[in-house]
Amino acid sequence: MAFRDDLRRTRAIVWKDLTTERRSKAGFNSVASLGVTILVLFGFALGPDAQMLRDAAAGALWLAVLFAGVLAFNRSYQVELDGGALEALLLYPGSRWAIFAGKLIANLIFVTLMLVIVVAVGIVLFQVRIPAQWPALLGIMMLGVVGIVSLGTFYAAMSSRSRAREVLLPLLLYPMLIPVLLAAMEATKAFLGGDLLNASGAWVQMLALFDVIFLVATFLAFEYVIEV
């Protein structure tokens, strides 16, 4: 019964976060704009060489997701800080994991939508040929997004009480995300290049392993970082 109540709370938080985001629009527009801008700048910096563009596509894509994602994570808690809503959220009964799960799912949906735009722009700008095994590539991208979002949502909660949260979040998040970014980028690169040697297998395993570790660790630790 308590578990079902917590699931209901999680759903309510997802609905609330997506509804406020849909109505304000400011968050998604700025995040998507930043992602596209990063890709455009990379595209111009690399020049017209098609092969070079294709080789750099995976790296540029994940960097765009990372930088734009940080904006999104900060914003997801800014909504709670305005008007003391975080305080009200923490006063509701129920498990703390329900709050984290709600925030995590809302951020996953948000970053996935942003990823769709970034990938679409990236395919055009970097002259990427869509590989035959594109569903597997989608799976890799989702694994990468889960890793980035789980850690991003967690550290955004941790830094939300700090006045310097905009500075603190990247400082905490970027070093921890190196293995996920590296694995996501290498696996994506291998798939975009056809992956004739099955080189992506080890990276995908590493990515999945880090996702599991991050998800378990952040769910367990959330209670301790959100309470003062």
Partner: protein, 246 residues
């Protein structure tokens, strides 16, 4: 007079024993002892910065005490936070609402989070006089309207221990009457309340007693204090205790 073991009497809505809290090197609370029985309405007075709100936040589980113990209906606020949150309703300085949701949506969200998804939201909105703005976004509400909406959230919750931190701020005469009506209703149902106040006038006829926090402890008012309006003549003092903190 005070035993070190918690007194888990179901009659005690709040049992704070030597509650202390420091921020950095500064001790804001130095050992507050306060017992509030079920059905009792207590006013909490004191100068700005004396620790009233800090104490309320500790009881509400929003802040951890640096020392001491605090129980709400027998549940320890440190170790049984979820159980405490089922009993406590906290009306804070800040409205805790979402600007981009309507009044009704804010209450629907609160009802789901509280575990009462089928709560009568329309009745609560009608009670606080906000039926005419049910579907309007909170962003356009005045401070007083936001306070009323926060009160509607408490009405949905019907807590057993009400913690009100300067509840009359931004409320007009009708809003104050509404607030007092809710406190009395809760009292009639056997609930308790701790009300942080700077001015006793709006709470006239609502409180059973008042206590004062001074220098981080519950203070025993002297005749001079009473003459300066530090506490009402009806104040019943609570023995000041210490948590071994100088």
């Amino acid at each position: 007079m005070q035993s070190s073991a918690p007194l888990l009497s179901p009659d005690l809505a709040l049992d704070a024993r030597g509650v202390a809290r420091r921020f950095g090197a500064r001790w804001v609370l130095r050992g507050v002892n306060l017992q509030v029985r079920a059905g009792e309405m207590v006013g909490l007075l004191g100068h700005n910065g004396c620790g009233k709100s800090t104490f309320m936040r500790i009881v509400a589980t929003l802040l951890k005490a640096s020392a001491g113990d605090c129980f709400v209906y027998g549940s320890n606020v440190k170790t049984e936070g979820d159980s405490v949150r089922h009993h406590v309703g906290f009306f804070s300085h800040v409205p805790g609402l979402y600007d981009d949701l309507s009044a009704r949506e804010n209450l629907a969200f609160a009802a789901t989070m509280l575990g009462f998804p089928s709560a009568d939201i329309d009745a609560a909105l009608e009670r606080v006089g906000l039926t005419h703005v049910t579907h309007e976004h909170v962003r356009g509400f005045s401070a007083g309207m936001q306070r009323r909406l926060s009160l509607a959230r408490l009405i949905l919750q019907r807590p057993r221990l009400l913690l009100l931190d300067e509840p009359y701020n931004n409320l007009d005469v009708a809003g104050i009457a509404l607030m007092n009506g809710f406190i009395r209703e809760l009292n009639a149902a056997g609930g308790a309340a701790v009300v942080v106040l700077h001015d006793l006038v709006p709470a006239e006829g609502v409180l059973d007693r008042t206590v004062t926090i001074r220098e981080g402890r519950v203070h025993v008012p002297t005749a001079a204090d009473l003459a300066h309006g530090g506490a009402s003549p009806q104040a019943i003092t609570v023995p000041a205790g210490a948590a071994g903190i100088s």
